[in-house]
Symmetry: C2
Subunit: 418 residues, 2 copies
């Protein structure tokens, strides 16, 4: 079954909205071993949309459309579907009930506009929307499946998980092809170095495929292996993974879609350890990432965004003379900040960052991108220098990643050096 | 001139990477009044890529391709370009110099793999890469323009700004069509309510177009107006904008691509005011957003992520008995946290949030999604209740947005209530 993804919306074409939906849908379909042939973005133009529906119908077995289902005048997808399938809209009582309930819960009065959203094409099955007002649509015709969902990401995602994916697995009669993909997530080493360290890549991989996907958080290695049986594909992948880990394992913090904060949180919880974070240049990003994890109060005690020198001295007991002597961005202050946050919060570990994120504030001696990260527990208390680039937001991301990775290495007993 | 955007990469199709490049390019081309006809994602398959090049060439005047230019074996774009244009690769000395310089700066040894990246197609002009090793490519043939850039977002973006956009404006002989688009950014009001408040939309808009684009941060209203002359389009847009602002102005925090933190920062700097932030449930997100602004040390003094009750009591002087009496998530504690952070940091304004982000920790009386936001200055000290949804990360985003909007309203003297 070959899939074709269509996202509808001028806002996507002109780049006012990033098309995250295509990625989410692509990922979920790939998980159930469907092949995505093509992904497109089409304007809010009923003729263009109908033309695209036709191309998709001619070349694919599964067509997944998102966007243009809202309650306002610029939402034309439903009209395009009705025209394309020569059908009509009919009221769906279940959907109307959902919409009424949702408004009641939010304590708002329902409007006629919202009631209108309970109408779906006659030939379709409605996909209930637990997170919004517009239902999705499931149509089967001439052996092909045609799915339409709202463009609001969390509404679409909920429909995919609860309705579309289970229904597709049912249609596929379970899963038949045996292809495994695993992402090995690295940080702290550039793409070309990773590639060279792996040595003879053809020999390493055999018939497997390995792709390198870099961004500011590190390099993702996507390993794909096919096999005649599920067992063969799986064991082949595991074998290659082990060989890769033997060479560059220290840089690999996790697999697939796990985040570094997921990994670090799990390590802290498993060991029953707590952490507190003092941030200067990252401005709260590290605390924010750690508290994105559900249940973070088990290991995260507090964070301090000690932006001013006064805050560093008052809240972290950093030595004021030392700030004047070495500068707030220095190895010594990073170490003192980590020591200070650990002491005031009485946690097992203190983690601290100080640096120059840019665009201003750099000098010849201390350029933009210079960062120091400190880490302390009851046995060691140390800091390390990093040099990043000249973009403020990328530098914040890179610094938060390097700090969380230093915490990971600390917890695993891996050296902080390369 | 009609544009066609092609992004190459299995990682985009299968959703391992979100296609932010298409949005960035779409937005930059739209700014110079080019029309984007279609955007597609194609697999790392040389035949599929060449086929897509042909479709784009047949239907468009400008083809912009990203991805697959890296140094590793899975990067096939250059090969596809060489085949498609029946040309060959030649060494570009300037590019080689760039690559050598970049490695020197980072203190790393250059590899043969990196040197190979200095080869570009003979019929092309190389686009220098200030942020990485792979150059871009500019080809003109049969009156059409064909641009290829790396998939790494910040490398591509730099090439767009410094080379592609200026060169396209030159080719267009300046800008000729008169179409204006402006985004009016709202928060704190749902899409359907915004739509209904605006009343008779046809009458309001005339020939203009208005699109509603909701996400967890609010609803973006994209207003598009065309005109025979630059003046006419502009003044027509301004007139409609004024009418919209007269009705729903209090919800509009900014225009175009400005963020709420940009707006709030500007207001604080203009008034010479400082702020400190105490966060419980948002875990540092509000501080992080404020410190994303370059020069934030002018107005942001410190932040505290008082996750534990101990931190609230020790760092913010919150009344411990009151926590036991009312609960850490209460109107009274939000107010005390705002008062406390203002007092300890000696800033003009204190902002604080406490809430239940989920998935756990909710009760019948205090469900997941319940949030209190406190704000204090030297005259007032108050707090307000909000009710959001059940998704942790969306709740963090919504809470940070509501808090920054409360600060905005405070600075502008707009009531916190709807």
């Amino acid at each position: 079954m070959k899939a074709y993804l269509i996202s509808i919306g001028d806002e996507l074409l002109i780049g006012q909205t990033i098309n995250t939906n295509a990625a989410v849908i692509g990922s979920k379909l790939t998980e159930i071993q469907l092949k995505i042939g093509k992904t497109t973005i089409i304007a809010d133009d009923i003729d263009e949309v109908k033309k695209e529906f036709q191309i998709a119908f001619n070349t694919s077995d599964l067509i997944v459309v998102t966007g243009g289902l809202g309650p306002t005048h610029d939402d034309i997808t439903l009209k395009a579907v009705v025209d394309f399938f020569s059908t009509e809209l009919v009221l769906n009582e279940d959907v109307l009930g959902d919409v009424e309930k949702l408004f009641k819960r939010r304590g708002r009065e329902i409007t006629d506009l919202n009631r209108k959203q309970a109408y779906v094409p006659k030939i379709s099955e409605a996909i209930r929307n637990a997170r919004g007002t517009a239902p999705g649509i499931w149509i089967e015709k001439e052996g092909k499946i045609f799915v339409v969902m709202p463009g609001v990401p969390y509404e679409m995602e909920d429909m995919m998980d609860k309705f579309v994916i289970p229904r597709l697995i049912e249609k596929l009669g379970g899963l038949s092809e045996f292809k495994y993909t695993k992402n090995l997530l690295t940080t702290g080493i550039p793409e070309s170095f990773l590639f060279e360290r792996l040595g003879n890549i053809e020999e390493l991989l055999g018939k497997a495929k390995l792709a390198f996907l870099p961004n500011q958080f590190g390099v993702k290695m996507r390993l794909t292996v096919s096999g005649e049986t599920e067992e063969m594909a799986k064991s082949n992948l595991e074998e290659i993974e082990q060989r890769i880990r033997a060479i560059v394992g220290r840089y690999i913090y996790g697999a697939n879609n796990v985040s570094l904060e997921d990994v670090v949180s799990r390590l802290l919880i498993d060991r029953g350890l707590t952490v507190a974070v003092a941030e200067s240049c990252t401005g709260g990003l590290i605390s924010n990432r750690l508290t994105n994890i559900a249940g973070s109060s088990a290991f995260f005690e507090r964070g301090m965004v000690t932006y001013s020198n006064a805050a560093k001295v008052e809240n972290l007991k950093v030595n004021e003379d030392m700030i004047h002597e070495k500068g707030a961005v220095s190895l010594e202050i990073a170490r003192q900040m980590a020591e200070g946050i650990r002491a005031v919060s009485m946690t097992d570990i203190g983690l601290a960052v100080t640096g120059i994120m840019g665009p201003d504030g750099g000098s010849d001696e201390k350029p933009v991108g210079l960062v120091y990260i400190g880490i302390c527990d009851d046995k060691i208390c140390t800091a390390k220098e990093f040099r990043f680039g000249d973009d403020r937001l990328l530098n914040k991301d890179r610094t938060s990643q390097a700090a969380l990775d230093m915490l990971r290495r600390h917890l695993l007993g891996i050296s902080y050096d390369e």
